[in-house]
Symmetry: C2
Subunit: 453 residues, 2 copies
Amino acid sequence: MITLDPLFEPKSIAIVGASRNPGEIGYEVLKNVKNSFKGQIYPINPEVTEIENLTSYSSISNVEDPIDLAIILNKGKEVSSVLSECAKINVKVAIIVSSDFSEKERVKLNEDIKKLKKASKMRILGPSSMGVFHKDLDMLYLPKERLKRPSEGYISFITQSGGIGATLMDLAAGEGIGINKFIAVGKATDINEIELLQYFGMDMQTRCIIMYLESTQNGKELIEQAKNIVKNKPIIILKAGKEEQGLTAVEQHHGISSSTSQIYSAAFKQAGIIEAKTTDELFDFAKTLANQPILKNNKIGIITNAGGFGVLAADEASRLGLSLEHLNKDTIKLMKALPSHIKKENPLDLGGDANADTYQVALNAMLKEKDISGIICIALLQTPTLEERVITAIRESKLHGKPITVCITGSDYTKRLARRLESYGVPVYSTPEKAVRSLNVLLKYNNILKKFK
Amino acid sequence: MITLDPLFEPKSIAIVGASRNPGEIGYEVLKNVKNSFKGQIYPINPEVTEIENLTSYSSISNVEDPIDLAIILNKGKEVSSVLSECAKINVKVAIIVSSDFSEKERVKLNEDIKKLKKASKMRILGPSSMGVFHKDLDMLYLPKERLKRPSEGYISFITQSGGIGATLMDLAAGEGIGINKFIAVGKATDINEIELLQYFGMDMQTRCIIMYLESTQNGKELIEQAKNIVKNKPIIILKAGKEEQGLTAVEQHHGISSSTSQIYSAAFKQAGIIEAKTTDELFDFAKTLANQPILKNNKIGIITNAGGFGVLAADEASRLGLSLEHLNKDTIKLMKALPSHIKKENPLDLGGDANADTYQVALNAMLKEKDISGIICIALLQTPTLEERVITAIRESKLHGKPITVCITGSDYTKRLARRLESYGVPVYSTPEKAVRSLNVLLKYNNILKKFK
């Protein structure tokens, strides 16, 4: 069986159904592939001889060079014959982006694919797949003016809904969260979410795998694979269709029925998979898990220049079972450079007139405190006394090897600085509750590691 | 007793401790007041005769005209004598921004204020108050380059933490959420959160009151006042210090102890106050409550062009007890202009190639369906087929008098359109779950109205 390497790292790509007309999918895919991919590109369109300065072919069979990956954008009813052609010339992987099938056409396509799989080694992704995105291969048909592409990072993302996947990537891009590889499965007729999970499990560049899952045809296999993978990297799944009405909607959207909430949640727990309960949590958790060391135990410290946010963070910590340890004498000694009116307590409230130096002293002391394993750093950057170089102080805390999550709230000014911190791999959240929940997930993953290693 | 009108709508303002030096609070407050306030301004500073083209006075007693509002920025130890002077010349309201008191100085100030209140009619806000913000009076010392000011809207905000309050306003400003009046209480020596609640309860421009509360000295009074106010407008409270560790942090931050979570939650329920469980929920709920009609019953419709988001919304609706009704025949008839492959179901999945026209048809039909009382509209704006004028279609749905909340996810492009919708009073959320929870809060408020009217 052909591995999935040509899906993510093809040497040559044919775009079947490429178009010269901006706005059409056949043009948008070609343009985005051309701007990202460094290998050979073969547009296929029987009506033209050239598209965007690339020689266009009337049929994929006319291309004489070997083709690793074929992206199929044709009308639904044409897909079967294009697939046969692809198999004949030994294309390694075909991605069917097309999704305009009548019920009858869909049934026929499924049968044709079954036959093809017996006769050929070619692997198939889709139909209704949005394809692959990473820094060297962008085949999304969504225009860049509308959907921002994220920078390179350590999170890889498997989604059973192209729409959800793509918009969440856009959201992530806006917040400066890095993505390693993105893949939209579509209807899994051959390559499915489990094989992709395996692939990312072995992928050296992926440190955290996230998945938007509506249903799986082989829950047992998913669990078995996950159990192995979580020994090396965390898996986070957002499962849709958990509730009764959601299930009906899933059936409608996906054509197959998904199991109930409890079964999936129990299975995830058994497999060491971290469950995201909401859309927010998927990336909230991923950016911390992908960039921060584990939290060894439940003992944490909170640093803030806004007393109230310290209170809200302490509330959330209590709810999650995280413990705010009293600072020991050595730590308090390390804080002697702090103004005398600051109470050396945990949460440590540096006061409304805190500056970058007080943050640095506080962070250094807390990070050296042996009874504290992880830190929530809240910084109200709008206060005039707090210099921008506090970002450097927070960033450097990474050197201590203890996990840290940050809460920075606001609009333009603070978002700019928050994005800078994110680009250094320090996860930033807009509420204290999210910063605490995300630090807590590092403890969850530590417990998973203990259980499965 | 002097009402609070001069606090929000003074005719003249003295700024005691005004400064010529940019970066100092005395300068920032003066500058922001000068740029927003249309009445007379008197800077008070014994060392200069002019600041920012305004005549400066050596002492407030030297001002011959009547002063409605004095903003006191002096050093902590000077505050008592400034207050006496203010009372002597019949200042109506004094706001003590100063917060640098030693424990001894604080005790003395409290005693001095007690005496002053017996001898004078002057009202006092603070100490440690960040003051007031609205479109005609901006006395925040946080620079605009760091803290964006929100546009005018219908939400008024009482906060016991200036820092939290101000940064959340900055966040709101970035998302296009309008604020009517903002006030940071500080330590309540005279004017407290309850009197302010009353004031906003009667304020015609305020449609929704939100409060960040750490503790109250008179819970019974708070409940009694709230019971009256919620007949006319909703109150949302984010209570900090709910959990054990949070309580300790509150005591530290606020000097007085707050009660436990359960007591407050029960009291809020009794009073018809909506409790925000997280920082996010405070504004998430407020922007819907301030701008949308109530939800009459639990029957809702979901429209989407991303099947998966429809599933997640349906999941959340189920969890909250909202019901997705089947569409009746008349509604399905109204949808005859929709492409035939679209299943006329609820959630209504318009498909990845939906455009503004299909949204308009779908919205119109759903809004006319008698068994549907409110709508979640999910729009994946990144798809090339969906024109920007879908924003107009969604906006016009307000004319039907049924509540609507919207889910739009993404970065720059989608955020720009989302802000436009927000400016029309249509609340937009970045996740389907938040859109559903916020629509649900309109049902909660309907139940509160039924109970208290």
